[in-house]
Amino acid sequence: MNTAVAPATYFQARDYKSEVKPVWCPGCGDFSVLMAITKAFAELQLAPEKTAVISGIGCSSRIPAYTNCYGFHGVHGRALALGTGVKIARPDLTVVVAGGDGDGFSIGGNHFLHACRRNVDMTYVVMDNRVYGMTKGQPSPTTEPDWDSALTPGGTGLRPFNPLVIALASGANFIARGFAGDPNACASLIAEGVRHPGFSFVEILSPCVTFRPDQRDWKSAVHPAPVKATDDAARAAKRLMTDDGFNTGVLYAGSRAPFQPSFSTTKTVAELEEAFAS
């Protein structure tokens, strides 16, 4: 994370929001996640010009446009590759990568594995609604096998992807789960993820009220994890493999050193421009 500024007046959560109004469906959990991200930034007093919000494609990936930090609405599934590049090139920036379950675990699944493995110091917030909302309701990697819809009568019958287990097995240094219905708790998780060195993965259960109205019931399904976060990967693996998918809180906080290669500048921007033009 970048160094906190000492402002004459404090950054409030609204100071991180742009003038662009979100076009998500009213009731969408992503509104709460946007709120949680801006609250986390305010808690950390991050300077907007020292913060980058990077995304791929999907409903939730619209989020960079709704903040006034540096932003990049990238290519489908490639948000983590972009975020990695930004952080490696500009380690002084706080990098938050955001997106959905389809973007992150299907199209971007391979990048997810290697971002966990590389352990670059950035925070990945996934708004998991277990459906492709933008393209009108196809099942995603995290969709339940028996979710019945006109597009998949009777359900897919496929075992869902377990992102937290995969993150742990691949080397993520911080793993947490939140629920969009509790934006304050999500803000705390995101702030903690940003503070924690290395690759932090925060899954936020974010209901899609249009294609998955049943997810409104998540309000009564989520519950705080009954045990404190562990730094023991084996113990965390056992917990994550056996949890019900609705435990919230920090579930693993490791101590692996982040990957941050040191570079020296070999060419100036002018030299690059000249080489490019010739």
């Binding site: 007046t9 409030q12 009213p26 509104f31 006109a150 708790a185």
Partner: protein, 182 residues
């Protein structure tokens, strides 16, 4: 909007006896969070062309913003950002924060005012709790004033609500829904 909005759970804040500074921070956080939230809700309704409800939320945001400004005039340090863990509410969130998951793009002023009424009632309950439990004379005096103020807001919203009776079942039926798969 498929269900009635939730009532804040009536659990006591964890062993809190606010200092005046902590109490002012809570008042500011509650009012500014409400203003921020109402603005968000107004934006959502404007985007979906539900202008009547958008106007109502915008008006509520303006009212809450004035309250937040009032809180910082009384104590400028109240606006200093604090971690969420330093706040002790009766529920998970500040009393006047509408749950964004309770929105529907076709909601009516009746629904919006019902949500707002619940927020004001939660605020009364919060300040009553502080009033009953505080040992600090300054906090007690301030909380007493805020209980009265929030009770007035409850009455005001009830008056507004009387103008908008509950809509009949089927208010959320859209002849051209955005759901391809159904």
């Amino acid at each position: 909007m498929s269900k009635e909005p939730r009532k804040a759970p009536r659990r006591a804040p964890r062993g809190v006896n606010f200092t005046p500074a902590e109490f002012h921070a809570h008042v500011f956080a509650m009012e500014s969070d409400a203003a921020h939230r109402y603005d968000d809700l107004a934006d959502q309704m404007e985007t979906h062309n539900n202008r009547e409800v958008a106007g109502l939320f915008r008006r509520m945001a303006e009212i809450e913003r004035k309250h937040a400004d009032h809180a910082t005039k009384a104590d400028p340090d109240a606006a200093r950002p604090r971690p969420a863990t330093q706040f002790h509410w009766l529920g998970a969130e500040a009393p006047e924060a509408i749950d964004p998951l309770d929105l529907h793009y076709m909601m009516t002023p009746h629904h919006a005012l019902t949500l707002a009424l619940r927020c004001e009632e939660n605020a009364v309950a919060f300040f009553e709790h502080v009033l009953e439990t505080t040992k600090d004379a300054v906090v007690r005096e301030h909380a007493k004033h805020l209980v009265e103020e929030e009770r007035e807001h409850v009455q005001l919203i009830r008056k507004w609500l009387a103008r908008y009776p509950k809509p009949q079942d089927g208010w959320d039926e859209d002849p051209d829904p955005p759901v391809y798969s159904e």
